[in-house]
């Protein structure tokens, strides 16, 4: 999801009404075609509800009785808890493993095997170990969120910039100074990319976990709505998840841009002004 694909924002970042209008026109045509083929019975209306039906079903979901809120809350709690636990575990373990050359060497094959294993396939196993409920759900999301930060942090530490470390040594830096002033910031872009990937898989992981092991959450809501063939509401629920996914992604992108500010021009400009102010006031 790059900036240039956001409607109304050109490559240069300028806002253009003409562009917006074009996007709107295309969207309108798509919706109109969809409405037409379902209304005339070319597509089965039961399976593919008309856009107008979907819009109408938003009210019972969000307004009254507003069943979506509870499920949304449950899913988001799972996503965030699993994301935090998985990411922190991943980064801390990678830092520990990365420090010792021999640990790294002996663990390497297992890391490769685990990386090749689809994490979501372990869901039923986790369910068998932890039983039905929130614990299993949390464990599955944690599992899904663990690997990207783990692998990226490890890579970041291993691909340490040798000349930089040698230079720090020649200036008499301690091990701790080398770690905190050079290695960690140097690995930061990779670590942040890992965290962003973790967040991207957290929502999907939570939904699958709910499919197999839950009484509530958006995954359960989707299942229940499709089970009673309330397709308009199911589509509206899916749309909610799209919006949630989009917000989470953009949020992570913003955080990443702030943390590794030196990788984008805007970030550097802002940091530059801040630092100049600081040094001038010293």
């Amino acid at each position: 999801m790059e900036h240039e694909t956001i409607p109304g924002i050109g490559k240069s970042g300028t806002f253009s009404w003409g562009r917006i209008a074009k996007h709107m026109a295309i969207l309108f045509v798509l919706l109109a075609v969809w409405e037409y083929v379902t209304a005339t019975g070319i597509a089965d209306e039961l399976m593919f509800p008309q856009p107008t039906e979907i819009v109408l079903s938003v009210w019972p979901l969000y307004g009254s009785p507003g069943i979506v809120w509870y499920h949304l809350w449950v899913t988001m709690a799972t996503v965030l808890a699993g994301f935090v636990v998985g990411t922190v575990l991943g980064i801390v373990l990678a830092a520990l493993v990365g420090m010792s050359e021999s640990t790294r060497r002996y663990l390497q094959p297992y890391i490769i095997i685990l990386e090749a294993t689809p994490r979501i396939a372990m869901g039923p196993l986790v369910l068998a170990w932890l039983g039905f409920g929130f614990g299993a759900k949390l464990a599955i999301v944690t599992l899904v969120c663990f690997f990207a930060p783990f692998v990226n942090t490890l890579t970041g530490i291993l691909s340490a910039n040798e000349p930089q470390i040698e230079l720090m040594k020649s200036m008499g830096a301690s091990k701790w100074q080398i770690l905190t002033k050079a290695m960690v910031p140097d690995a930061m872009p990779l670590i942040m990319a890992g965290i962003r990937l973790a967040m991207a898989s957290a929502l999907g992981g939570a939904l699958v976990a709910e499919f197999i092991s839950s009484n509530d959450g958006m995954g359960v809501l989707m299942q229940n709505l499709t089970a009673v063939l309330n397709m308009p509401a199911a589509f509206a629920t899916l749309l909610s998840l799209t919006i949630v996914g989009f917000i989470l992604y953009r949020l992570m992108e913003m955080i990443e841009g702030t943390v590794v500010f030196w990788q984008n021009d805007d970030g550097m400009r802002r940091a530059s002004r801040r630092r100049e102010k600081y040094w001038r006031s010293l």
Binding site: N161, P163, Q164, E166, L167, M168, K169, S170, M171, G172, A173, Q177, K181, A182, P185, D186, M188, V260, F261, W262, M268, A271, S272, R273, R275, E276, W279, L282
Partner: protein, 288 residues
Amino acid sequence: MTLGAVKIEPGVKKAQIGGKLEQSQNDQGKMNPSSPRGQTVIEGQGVSKLFGETVVALDGATFNVRKQQFISLVGPSGCGKSTLLRMISGLIPVSSGTLELHGELVQRPRPDVGMMFQKPTLLAWRTILENVLLPTELSRKVTAEDRDHALELLELVGLADFAFSFPSQLSGGMQQRAALARLLQTGADVLLLDEPFGALDEFTRERLNVELLRIVEKFERTTLFVTHNIQEAIFLADQVFVMTPRPGRIAAVIDVPFERPRDPELMQSVPFNDLVGQVRKIFGNAAH
């Protein structure tokens, strides 16, 4: 411009045959009246470096460097010039022989020795000023005086307007200027430069070389400069250590008689090119 006699180290032949270069070289150092300035700062006696059991990176280097001398170490890859520099810096230990700095054995990196590499290795997340202040920051809290000193150094290397820019916003040549300012900020009086401008284009390199000479003279530093470019080595140095590979050794020490300050036009002169020829010949002999 004084065009003094070019002295080729008489021990060259011996070095190729038996590696008994040490004595004659030392003698030359002591006897040579044209070698300028001061007391011995760095002294190596039979300094060798082995990597593993069999790889001899440097074999019995005996040399001395006096205060405020500018020494160029020139030779092809594998001649041990970078290895020698790293041993002097204390980054890697010597395998045998003794290496002394101000009369003390070199055992670890010391604050009075500073290093600069082919890559600027600036920290991307720090402004240029903060990069220059890094050596200070490693030992104590940075003060307003440190800031002013660093800003002066940035002015000196022509980066006054870029103190609050980030490294990626600077060209390669400017990044190396920043690295030079950082090196001076360490306050080290021995500067070890490992092909510092090797990655830059010809024009930038020549300009930076001239500026480097101006700066080390102004600050009265002792300088060891590693390069594989013979012209560059001679242009900069008071003395050139000519190094040959397999095993790496100092094959000759050549005095460079040209007066300072030096102008790049010197490189067009006949005596200069005679000297280049002499160095080339040493490499040619070593290859057989």
